[in-house]
């Protein structure tokens, strides 16, 4: 595997010459393509089926979320973050709320913390289920998609009962929660955990030892731990390359240090290992949920936060372990009600950098597999 920095960029200025070269075929995959998970555009340079080089073109879903933040108060910006990684909206909100709380030097009360952890882990589960379904669909297995969506529905039902929304939940408020857990929340979560445990085995039954699945994923899109760190790749992709780095353990936030769970890691850094790591993560999430739901303390759900938030002048960087990797918020406050600048470090955007390194020299079908295994969400890449 070559170093990513030695790769020459694809020369987009002279497309005609590339076309005249009979050995190479330039293919424009996306922005409308069934397997680029949204509006990612990948320009592929092919020699037969072999990928000689590729370039990602992003920005088709750019909504200027970071700029919008500068014209909204801290509270008003909260729902906007849900729209970045829309399959893991709760994680986005957790990161943002905690960053602002850090800036305000307040801390959410323990009861709120517990409910936050439960919802975030449920959301991680939902995000991984969506990833599994679409990833398997990209590789040609159409059935897991329906299985995972069937079970993800149960999570969304809990969200809907909790806050009325299914996807862009806006579940958290700065300083805690707006809503008290509804009557029977704990029972619902417990039921879900016992319902979904055998279902994960069911997904694995379809794929884990499937010969074709193994051939399609083993040794595909290999990336070493060193390359991951050099490129800033985080999340399950990094862990599958053998680096044991999970912000829930490395820099515990919320109240993750109260829970007992493991960080699953892989060795080979290939697509199969990433699959295994994510499957294990689902089980770990369930473990955390089980512990959290047992120990929800009584008490208030909102800390004392001023109605008009004017954080002191300063800046803060807070990052959490979103389902896709390190999700960081860098907020600069000028002492007014609106942030001076909000910069988001989205895991999908950073992880997408590794695409070329992972795909070069592989086949077209592998590009699809690698895009799937990186688990990108274009709402987060483009913001």
């Amino acid at each position: 595997m070559t170093d990513s920095r030695s790769l020459s960029p694809l020369d987009l200025e002279t497309p005609d010459q590339t076309f005249l070269d009979a050995n190479e075929l330039v293919i424009n995959m996306g922005p409308q393509h069934p397997a680029t998970h949204g509006v990612l555009r990948v320009i592929l340079r092919l020699d037969g089926e072999k990928v000689m080089g590729l370039e990602c073109v992003i920005g088709y879903l750019h909504r200027g979320v970071e700029k919008i933040a500068e014209n909204r108060t801290y509270t008003m910006f909260n729902p906007y973050v849900d729209r970045m990684d829309y399959v893991a909206a709760v994680s986005n909100a957790l990161g943002y709320c905690e960053a602002v709380e850090k800036l305000l030097s307040v801390e959410a009360p323990p009861r709120a913390q517990y409910i936050r952890v439960i919802l975030t882990e449920l959301n991680r589960m939902a995000s991984h289920q969506l990833w599994l379904g679409t990833h398997a669909l990209d590789i040609g297995a159409i059935t897991p998609l329906f299985y995972t969506f069937r079970d993800r529905e149960e999570i969304l039902k809990i969200f809907e009962k909790y806050c009325g929304a299914r996807l862009t939940t806006h579940a958290f408020r700065i300083g805690g929660l707006q809503y008290e857990a509804y009557e029977g929340f704990e029972k619902d979560v417990k039921n879900f955990v016992s319902f979904v445990k055998p279902k994960i085995d069911e997904y694995e039954e379809l794929l884990t030892t499937n010969r074709i699945w193994l051939e399609r994923t083993k040794g595909v899109g290999v990336i070493s731990g060193k390359d991951c760190i050099a490129l800033g790749v985080t999340g399950p992709v990094l862990r599958a390359s053998g680096v044991q780095w999970d912000l829930r353990k490395a820099q515990p936030y919320a109240n993750y240090k109260n829970f007992d769970f493991e960080i699953p890691t892989g060795q080979n850094g290939d697509t199969y290992d990433r699959y295994v790591v994510r499957m294990a993560e689902m089980r770990q999430s369930l473990r955390i949920i089980e512990q959290a739901v047992e120990g929800i303390p009584e008490g208030p759900i909102m800390a004392k936060v001023p109605k008009v938030m004017k954080p002191p002048v300063g800046e803060v960087y807070h990052s959490i372990e979103a389902p896709k990797g390190e999700l960081g918020y860098f907020i600069v406050s000028d002492g007014s009600t609106q942030p001076y600048r909000v910069r988001v470090r989205p895991p999908s955007f950073v992880n997408l950098q590794a695409l070329e390194l992972m795909c070069r020299g592989q086949l077209v079908a592998d590009v699809i597999a690698v895009i799937g295994t990186l688990d990108i969400v274009l709402g987060e890449v483009d913001r």
Partner: protein, 431 residues
């Protein structure tokens, strides 16, 4: 006038297929019957695939158009016919126009020699199986031209993939077929045959389906063919030429409306065609199951009643669904429609009990039932397997199936030679 009637009647006394008897009238009738039957089969297959796949995937499938979505294929066909016919501006128009017809032609022509019964075939060719393999491989020409004429990248890659795939799997397929042809020579006359009807008659004479012949050689040959035929028809897990997630729709990306439906028709009739080959060569064609163990006139009667009973069973299931339909007045038309469909199935079942019909139709029934088994397998594969990658597909074809096929051929030849010699010594056949 009298001459014409005599010409038509003269065939009924012969024991041959209309083609072999040289009777144009009955040949035309058979062609029409096969064509209509095939179209109905494709329509039924369309509905069944969606329903079965849906139930494998914990959903209901089509439910709105007609009771249980029974009219969905018709609605789809209508939609496709009414759609705007788009030919891309940059496409090579004539080739683009011709390509789907080549594919359809190849897919339909092979049915000329498919034996639905000892006399129920359009014709009996002495090179039947060779004709089938040859004509069905013509469809690759249509696919390549379709991909090329579209003048677009995804179709081009799809076409290249499919040509490589179909050509390489034909080799393994051919080897498996040759091993069966060796087996046909083990009869008293000691002559092998390439005729589709002859192959089934050889199985009848040897009292054994070729899938069980020289165990496990026949089984291996059948397995090779069963894998190669999926690749040959571009179906999951070998559906790379139209890999949706990679190539949007492969070679027919630029096709729409009626032209696209021709590709669809060709794909499904090709599936039926290769399944027919597999059934004819290994599973005893039109022969009923257990001809040896369950002999005698009683069993003959029992087995001849099965076609009618099968249809009555389907009718009963339909009536059960009718009873379970929602009682709301909005569903009245659908309920009546479903009951009508059940009545139709029941009527067919009752007609199949009439002794004259029963005896003529049971060959066709057993043949179709076996083919339907393969169709179910196709759907099952699609619901279960991920897709192979191009190089892995080639690896399976050239490094696994081809050497196995070669070894199988040699072993079959050796074993066949040995049993032939033994039979000569003992003077007894049925090796």
């Amino acid at each position: 006038m009298h001459g014409v009637v005599q010409y038509i009647q003269s065939y009924l006394e012969s024991n041959q297929t209309p083609g072999a008897a040289g009777n144009f009238f009955w040949a035309t009738v058979y062609i029409l019957l096969v064509f209509v039957g095939l179209s109905v089969a494709v329509i039924a297959m369309n509905w069944l695939e969606r329903k079965i796949l849906a139930h494998m995937q914990v959903r209901l499938g089509p439910m709105r158009v007609g009771p249980h979505g029974l009219l969905q294929p018709i609605a789809d066909a209508l939609k496709l016919l009414l759609k705007e016919d788009i030919i891309p501006a940059e496409a090579d128009k004539i080739v683009f126009w011709v390509a789907p017809f080549i594919v359809v032609l190849a897919a339909f022509t092979v049915f000329v020699v498919v034996p639905f019964g000892p006399t129920h075939a359009i014709t009996d060719m002495n090179i039947g199986i060779l004709f089938m393999l040859g004509v069905s491989s013509l469809s690759v020409l249509g696919i390549v031209t379709a991909g090329w004429a579209s003048n677009s990248h995804y179709p081009l890659i799809g076409a290249l993939r499919s040509s490589a795939q179909m050509v390489s799997y034909e080799v393994a397929m051919g080897l498996a077929v040759v091993s069966v042809i060796l087996m046909t020579s083990l009869n008293e006359a000691s002559t092998g045959t390439l005729s589709m009807i002859g192959i089934v008659q050889a199985q009848q004479a040897q009292q054994q389906w070729f899938v069980f012949k020289f165990f496990p050689l026949g089984l291996i040959g059948f397995f090779i063919f069963a894998v190669a035929m999926v690749a040959e028809t571009n179906r999951a897990p070998f559906d790379l030429p139209e890999a949706e997630s990679e190539l949007t729709a492969g070679f027919h990306t630029e096709y729409s409306g009626f032209r696209w439906s021709l590709f669809f028709l060709a794909e499904y009739s090709a599936m039926i065609a290769v399944s027919s080959i597999a059934v004819t060569l290994w599973l005893g064609g039109w022969l009923r199951p257990f001809p040896n163990a369950l002999q005698g006139s009683t069993w003959e009667l029992v087995f001849s009643l099965i076609p009618g009973l099968a249809f009555l069973f389907l009718a009963a299931m339909t009536f059960y669904s009718t009873v379970r339909m929602p009682k709301h007045p909005l569903f009245r038309v659908q309920t009546i429609g479903l009951a009508g469909f059940g009545a139709l199935l029941g009527l067919i079942g009752l007609i199949l009990f009439i002794p004259g019909v029963r005896m003529r139709v049971q060959d066709i029934f057993w043949f179709s039932a076996k083919v339907a088994g393969f169709m179910y397998l196709y759907i099952w594969y699609r619901g279960t397997f991920p897709r192979y990658r191009f190089d892995q597909l080639m690896k399976v074809g050239w490094k696994v199936l081809l050497p196995t096929g070669l070894a199988l051929l040699i072993l079959t030849a050796v074993v066949a030679m040995r049993s032939e010699l033994l039979a000569d010594v003992r003077g007894v056949w049925h090796p």
